[in-house]
Amino acid sequence: MNDSRTPAQHPGFYALLVLLVVMSVGPIVLMLVTSLRLNVEIMSDTSSLIFVPTLRNYEQVLCDVLWYEPKGIDSCDPTFARALGNSLFIATIATVITLVIGCMAAYAIVRFRFVGRDGLTLATLMLRMVPPAVLLVPVFGIWTFQFCIGDQCAAGTHWGIILIYVAMNLPFVIWILQSFIVQVPIQLEEAARMDGAGPFRTFFLIVLPLIRPGLAAAAIFTFRIAWNEFLLANALADRKTRTVPVTIVNSLTEYNIDWGVIMATGMLLAIPPILFTLLASRQIITGMTAGAVKG
């Protein structure tokens, strides 16, 4: 980028840019700042911009998993730390399963001709828009009464929640990966087949490494939905399997909201997606545009 290619812009243009950045990041920064203050200070009438940041809220939320004994916290509530563990487990496993079986299905749709191919493409497209609210009633009923092995039903277990997250994300993952698999040169696969590799080996050793950007995008989108989802987790999880969004909403219904603590929990929930965005914004944008533009 030399100066001849970037002509000087109108100063108002830069003012607009600054305004846009402040507007889009401002609320997030405010949440971070609030999470570093004590509730007494947040609620006081004379709030000033200058304050001494404290990690007390985070210590209180994570007290159960800290390696040191935090000072000044009389009672330790392990709810949130456990929810964090649940969320991590559920989102990670759901992402891995969705990706593995999703890319196999996408590959079959792109590279093979078989009976029902067009119907399947249409079905994945239509299933993509089924919202969690619509699934609430049937999933609650089926998971509580029908998907049972012996006495143990799917509702209330990690695997029950993982199953519905995989199903919810599959149509989108299949769809988005198709557009990446189409771009893999077919000669590469033919060469591998000539050398005697079976379809599964060709797929896992040749195709998968080539569509890594697509896999990254699909992984981030799946993880984000599984990590952020509230409604179905709320209906399915019991005391032991609650995820972070569920605990946040539960603590909101209490009469006195401790804003410092709740903002700390919100921040902890927001940190993984923010990290992904900062690390892989290019893949996210590619995934988003591939999903809409090539529809």
């Binding site: 840019l17 590279r111 919202p131 609210a133 619509v134 988003m288 529809g295």
Partner: protein, 306 residues
Amino acid sequence: MTIANTSRLTPYLFLAPSLTVLGLALLYPVGYMVYASFLNWNPSQHIGQAEWVGLRNYLFLINDPSFRESLFVTLKFAAAVVSIEMILGVGLALLLDRQLRGMTLLRTLFILPMMIAPIVVGLMWRYLYHPTVGPLNRSLSALGMETVPWLSDSGWALVSIVIADIWQWTPFIFILALAALQSLPKSVMEAARIDGATGWQQIWHIKLPLMLPVLIVTCLLRLIDAFKVLEVVLVLTNGGPGLSTEILSLRIARTASEFRELGKAAAMSNLLLLGLMVLTAAMFAYSKWMETRAARLRKAAEADAA
């Protein structure tokens, strides 16, 4: 494009895991929901014990003023957010479509809001809208102006959730519109410039018409998503005050968990799903139509050249 001489079974082996999961955990529940919408069913019952009531749930909904109110609120919300976000997003894309040094960083910052959990977005805005300690009202009173009852007034509450949604989702339209703009053929823009088209003429007569296919798909995607919004509203207002912000998906959740009427909730879900299916089918038909039109134009051009 297909690889010959593979076993007929291979594609089905690749598909089997996905088909199993989709069938068990998505198709079956949707069918189950359609069936449940004809039942009088509460959560403590097994579905087999529920009483068959035929179309009574649907008849109840049609005559239920609060369901109609909720439908109306949903339509108002969707229309407001989609139109405002389209105008803002496309406008910003047209403004920012130039050689800029920090564009990558800028786009990264812009997509942050939509990556964050809707629950957290609701939390953030609930704090911002707080009547006394919220930064918005604090700033207003510091400037000597009247404070706004953001979430406690039935008129303002819908505006407040619309603002929060605009904050979260305008970047989506901005990113897609920008991608569409940057993939426009350079030669066309060049020709327009040489012919002396002004900036506005370029936008109205060239850029926007060429972007239209992408914009329509984007608009439909946003519309579908707008009908799915739930968590932000749940955290911000929980549907209140009164029914002023009780959008349809929230009403489904409350009918199921608070009023314990699973049959009616299923009937509502069914209606919502039908609406979304119409939108999706419209999107699908539109992109198919564009494809065939493009193919026909290409063929015509080739015939002309020959």
